[in-house]
Symmetry: C2
Subunit: 648 residues, 2 copies
């Protein structure tokens, strides 16, 4: 068991060595530390990020941080919140710039809990993770670097990775053994280079940008908004920050310039002078500059994320792109989360080692989509202002939705990309974890057709408010299971008063309790004796947390008598689907309706430990529901499951 610290043969044996304490390394480390793994985590910087770098937390990442219990520590820094993006362009006639439109950065069709981007200095975010790591006994070793590593599973099947570490001044060295090595060292990854993994560059067009964080005095009205400004004097992106700061991205050179030089640079004063020209007729003065940097936009993607599924890469080591869509940190978080739960599933004995292969396939596909988007977005952003007749006619400010004719390509790209930039557009493709018609699990109960459920395997669970029965608290269903590394089984029980529904729940529970079911096969043998009765999430098994949602008012639900014992044991995960929701105003059971499930008959939703839907199965009397679930899990777990044989 990963939670036994002394199970390693010696003090220099670790479950994982993590190199780099930026967003990707910290997220991986934090997850694995919470789940009981022994970690060696190093970073070559003496301290966390002091200024600058990434700062945008997308809505979906905020969901994740809340699920980890870290959101409030982030929000305590009073970050800026971007709800809308404003577009500024040259006016049809005359000089200067005018606002040609605004657009919600996370429009309501996305149904986000937090429909805004959170802007906060990366150092604050890193420190929140570091504080959490320390609670779990992990201290980042600084400033240390990696000097070499080997990986050989045949020679040493238990700890195949050997790693040489060194203090950056060369005074101290350490040799450690590990089950895994993770490279989260950023774009210039030593580990990637050693593995001879190449970078594919996506586009020859290049730009040089300056980025400046500071405090300004200006009469530009949208200085607290995210803005993209095109003027005949150049382009700027404005991003509000905490503590009255603002970040400006200013274009310094473009490969379309006649004298383009990718090493072109500019001083703080030159960039400020350029910003002043672009913002005319508005004035801008700097009271303080906190950070300034010049960088060329390079877009690249690593050919591989791993070679042997022991040494992995993630974050900027795998994909680099322009920072302006605010995707870097968010993609890094999701890389790490994706890998973390799969390592856990394998090392805790639940999943076959082959699930590790889905890390690269799932995350590289997301990175490809990100780069394609970023490329399009950055290109548009870096363009010279379009000709006057291309520019939006002075928008009608009465509407957030300019008509198609009014939209230039930039705005169109931006709008199309809202779902993607907010983090909800990520969709993992079919594989052993995400059901599809070609998945080994086949059953008429699998709800796979658009008319059967709105949930899609590989996509996030929909948000829904429900009432927790045990204490009548109104809660966010999708947040009820913390990031505990377990699969989340959401049993939507439908209307318990209808004939057959109670029996369907009893049959589900007895099927799950049967020897050889996906659930019983991984239950602790003596759970009732060894697990505290206060345990909310994992009373029987480390690998499952079970939530039951009934389409009935809270006051009509008696957990002990209405639910079979297995479901009732998760007594703090029994919910009444009795909250009104504006998005489904006529539904009797809004959570059922938002999932696209029948409000009377319900269904069973399997959600992966990272929050993405794995499969949706109908809830019926008899054994077929559990058979379908056995078939789904049977495709990737270590044990042969009861019902699988019959189905295949």
């Amino acid at each position: 068991m990963a939670s036994q610290p002394n199970r390693h043969p010696s003090p220099n044996h670790y479950d994982i060595v993590i190199v780099g304490a930026g967003p990707v390394g910290l997220m991986l480390s934090t997850c694995l530390a919470r789940w009981g793994y022994k970690i060696k985590h190093i970073d070559n910087r003496p301290e966390p990020t002091a200024t600058g770098r990434a700062d945008g937390i997308q809505p979906r990442s905020l969901d994740l941080l809340r699920n980890m219990g870290l959101k409030s520590a982030i929000m305590a820094h009073k970050p800026a919140r971007v709800y809308e993006v404003a577009f500024w362009d040259p006016p049809k006639n005359g000089k200067g710039i005018v606002r040609t439109g605004t657009w919600a950065s996370c429009p309501s069709f996305i149904d986000a809990r937090y429909p805004f981007t959170t802007l906060l200095h990366q150092g604050h975010i890193e420190r929140v993770f570091i504080g959490d790591l320390e609670k779990n006994g992990v201290k980042i070793q600084r400033p240390w670097t990696i000097k070499g590593f080997t990986s050989n599973e045949k020679e040493n099947p238990d700890y195949p990775v050997s790693v040489e570490l060194e203090h950056v001044d060369g005074t101290f060295k350490e040799s450690v053994k590990a089950k895994y090595l993770f490279g989260g060292e950023g774009a210039r990854s030593f580990i990637r280079d050693q593995l001879k993994i190449g970078i594919k560059h996506k586009d020859p067009i290049a730009y040089v940008w300056g980025v400046m964080d500071g405090v300004v005095k200006t009469d530009f009205p949208d200085i607290k908004m995210k803005c993209t400004i095109h003027s005949e004097n150049g382009s700027i992106m404005v991003i509000p920050r905490e503590d009255n700061m603002v970040r400006l991205y200013i274009q310094i050179a473009s490969s379309s310039d006649p004298d383009f030089n990718p090493r072109k640079t500019a001083s703080v004063e030159e960039v400020q002078a350029s910003a002043k020209r672009i913002l005319q007729p508005y004035s801008i003065e700097w009271e303080r500059v906190e950070w300034y940097s010049v960088y060329p936009i390079g877009q690249g993607i690593a050919d591989k994320y791993t070679i042997d599924h022991r040494v992995f890469l993630g974050g900027d080591a795998c994909h680099t792109h322009s920072p302006k869509a605010g995707q870097g940190m968010n993609t890094a978080f999701l890389d790490a989360l994706n890998l973390a739960w799969k390592i856990h599933a394998v090392e805790a004995g639940f999943a076959k080692r082959s699930v590790l292969e889905t890390y690269e396939s799932e995350r590289k596909d997301v990175a490809e989509t990100l780069l394609a988007f970023d490329n399009k977005y950055a290109k548009l952003f870096s363009q010279r202002p379009p000709a006057a007749n291309e520019v939006a006619a002075a928008s009608d400010h009465s509407s957030n939705q300019p008509s198609q004719e009014e939209e230039n390509e930039f705005i169109k790209t931006f709008k199309e990309s809202c779902e993607f930039t907010s983090g909800y557009g990520v969709a993992y493709k079919p594989n052993a974890l995400n059901w599809s018609p070609s998945h080994p699990a086949q059953s008429h109960l699998i709800l796979a057709h658009p008319e059967s459920t709105r949930l899609r395997p590989g996509r996030l669970l929909a948000n829904a408010d429900v009432t927790r029965v045990v204490d009548a608290n109104v809660v966010h269903l999708e947040q009820e299971v913390p990031l505990n590394g377990s699969f989340r089984l959401f049993v939507f029980g439908g209307n318990p008063a209808l004939p057959g529904q109670a029996q369907a729940l009893r049959d589900l529970a007895s099927g799950m309790a049967k020897k050889g079911s996906f659930y019983a096969a991984y239950a602790l043998p003596d759970a009732d004796r060894v697990v505290s009765h206060h345990e909310r999430h994992n009373p029987h098994s480390r690998f499952f947390t079970v939530c039951t949602v009934l389409a009935a008012p809270r006051a009509r639900i008696e957990i002990a008598s209405d639910l079979p014992h297995l479901l009732a044991r998760y007594r703090e995960h029994v919910y009444a689907d009795d909250r009104w929701d504006r998005r489904v105003p006529d539904a009797r059971a809004a959570a059922h309706a938002k999932m696209g499930l029948d409000q009377d008959r319900g269904g069973v939703v399997v959600v992966r430990p990272d929050g993405y839907v794995g499969i949706v199965v109908a809830l019926q009397e008899g054994g077929a529901t559990v058979d379908a679930l056995n078939a789904y899990f049977g495709a990737f777990v270590t044990k042969e499951l009861g019902g699988t044989q019959a189905l295949l």
Copy 2:
């Protein structure tokens, strides 16, 4: 200015000496420390509360804590949240107990942002305040006590109070001079005794109760809810707590017992045995007892809260009552808040000294109401279970709203009292601060009639969501001005596209800017030069923060061109009333509608620094709006105001 620390003649001169670091003393100290006052704060306990005592934060108090920026630190302790109360009684036939009903603890008609009671150990709450005090340079001196004091305004008009302080072990002594002395020492107040202020006891009926905090194992289904349980074996109140704890209040003796003895006591084991009998047929076992205490219920109220308006009392020193309605800490907070802003208004030179007289009149009236309620509530709670025919017929759980016939008197009292217990029922009576037809301000523009506005002087401002124009953030309007000691002027501008509305705003601003207006009379003479352009709340004056709310979509509002300069200067307090609200689904401008203001014509709402409405005035072209405001403020400020003469 209070913010100049060296303005006192010597190090042993203070603005105020505060005795007692429970909720009332800490709230007072925290407010005054933030506003720059020099405080000597002592407590005779060596440390904050370790276990037990008050633990219920009512919805209105949570609003206040959020307004102070302290809510998230409280919520970080993961307190229990009570959304509903369950009533358990003997069944109509047979033995044991059955649930006869449940009721929302803060029903939706109250429109609370946080419709639940927050349960958290008082020590955690105290430490949040202590942390905030330390940020402002105030450290509580422990364990120190007060040995004596005198107060003589004639002899020493500047520092009339002399206080003798001593370490509890008598080793050290200090003599200090102060402008004020505050007794927040609890029910056994030395200061109250010295002032020879009597306590009026409200009721001869007495009960003895045991209170026990602990962790239990039970099959009682509502152990995570607030419950009142009446059985033939006695009565219990159940209150959930953080960290899997539960508090039980168990009746030990009643004056209706034949052998009643108010000094009767009971051991932990006796109380546990009694609880087991009451909860039958359910079982309960204690895994851990954290705190246990026995106390008689005594209800009393101090005859006076002050004698000379220099030495004040608050909190339990003024009113004691049963803890079961969870009112103690909340009433203490509001006592302190009420006094704090009035001391500030007087000491900063804004208000006449006579506003201090409203502390006792406002808060004693609230305490009288609380005691009348508590008395009724406690009496019912302590009663023997009602006869079977009085007990609610087995409630229809399908509805949270049992029919009138089904309700016994206890449930009825409880329901009637929801508004009061949630903290929103407090209504201050007419006086110089709360406009009424007998107030010196008289104008046809004052919106005093039920049909003109839903807001009532002496009541809290209604909640409303609006969009902040400068950054498009969706915000809670009532929370937008932090607890800064300033009056909050909410200018609801109506529909700016209608003829006359823009002119009305211009006339308001120019009237406010006129020498001798309530606003200009207290503006900093050189504000534009000495106040940072980043100052959001008090760019012109310490005594006012001005918010403007326009009934228009955000994208149509240009602050610089649509608003007169005075209002535009509060650029982070300009809002679009463009959010849909379920409570006024058909409104075009929901915030205007929730205030009961005309959605086209708006109005001006003056909110006291503690969040209670002072007056509501129509917004009209010409000088009458400012005249009416001048007349309102003229009744209690130190300077003679321009328009007052003409009106009276």
